[in-house]
Symmetry: C2
Amino acid sequence: MNDLAQLNSKPFSDPNVPKAVVSRLSLYLRELQQLLRVGIATISSSKLGRRLGVTGAQVRKDFAYFGQFGYPGIGYRCEELIVQIRKILGTDRTWPVALIGCGNLGQALLGYHGFSKQGFCVEVAFDVDPNIVGQTFEGLKVQHLDHLPQIIEQRSVKLAILAVPANAANKAVDELVKAGITGILNFAPVTLNVPKNISVVGVDLAMELEQLAFAVVKQVAK
Amino acid sequence: MNDLAQLNSKPFSDPNVPKAVVSRLSLYLRELQQLLRVGIATISSSKLGRRLGVTGAQVRKDFAYFGQFGYPGIGYRCEELIVQIRKILGTDRTWPVALIGCGNLGQALLGYHGFSKQGFCVEVAFDVDPNIVGQTFEGLKVQHLDHLPQIIEQRSVKLAILAVPANAANKAVDELVKAGITGILNFAPVTLNVPKNISVVGVDLAMELEQLAFAVVKQVAK
DNA sequence: TAGATTGTTAATCGATTAACAATC
DNA sequence: TAGATTGTTAATCGATTAACAATC
């Protein structure tokens, strides 16, 4: 990337960036890291797109929201582009994450270190069940939810993974918001009520399976 | 719903239905079930929309792809609409699901019975690790992946949850596709290469957290 | 009946794609 | 240089919203 690109790059907080673009950015990042692992240093927009089911034009347009990262006649250098995307997403640093709910799923998430490579680290874990509070999982001692405010303020935690039962979710969310959490990854199968400055990403297993069921039925109908 | 609505309802396999509509259908379904639980029998498109962050017009348009389910002047009857949406999604019956990979995450998913209410039942579980094959989790004995074809054919399993390590994902997928699986819920953080008649829904924790990080950074910048 | 709300059409808005001069 | 590919503009496509007659 040349110096001009740096100077011309638009502010990363451009409010006009569509959500779909940001989510593809994550997809590009994952694929570029894969490319690097298999020893590919440079890739064109159309080749990158083909791997992910999008057009080359879209790949270029997506990056163009944030600056000029490519080389005409050559393509994109994977290593450089990875650095740029991480900077855009804000994962060029490590984010401490709070885990709320250390039951079945919560414990599995603690054991899954896949996202630590991407700049996220579950540093604190909470629950309300007296049988779980005080236990240690993956070297992390579960705290009572009552201690949330002081702990996450002290560590400036902004992100939380919510893995509590559906009927406890919205009460927990109120606590999280009051404590200063601004991004929530929600595994509870309910709509969360949050102020509009709080971001929520939901993962609902049943809903994902429903999408598949529809697609499978549609396919059979053909 | 009147009889005419039945007669007029478009085929559920209408290829023109956008993906976004189908995914909102799942969201409506979840919310309607919640409404029913709290004793609300009837709801207007705008009230339902407000709860989910979409407009009333969009709610009505979404349903209009599939038929006429509402009552002018009254709204929609939750119970009826639930039945209709399940019929559309194909979850008016139970789908057997195969779980591939019974490590950390796989075991947690087995323990999470949240999606069984929605018509999905993990009936068979597979792994390749000799330390895991043969063990029983939640009353389910883990089979070796080699036995996949015969077992899923015998039970006509069409859906699989893939919870294997990233480097094993694409090899496993080849087996699944060969065996006749046509819908895959992928938890491995890699792009799956599948024929175009196979549906894949991906859940990547790192990617979801990245979306939150971006949103949080953007919000702070305001 | 009057009030409320649907289903649907037309208008608007936004996102994707095609095309191509500029560049390496 | 010739070939390849970018960044960007204009054209296309699709999805959302506004509006309203029909209906309960």
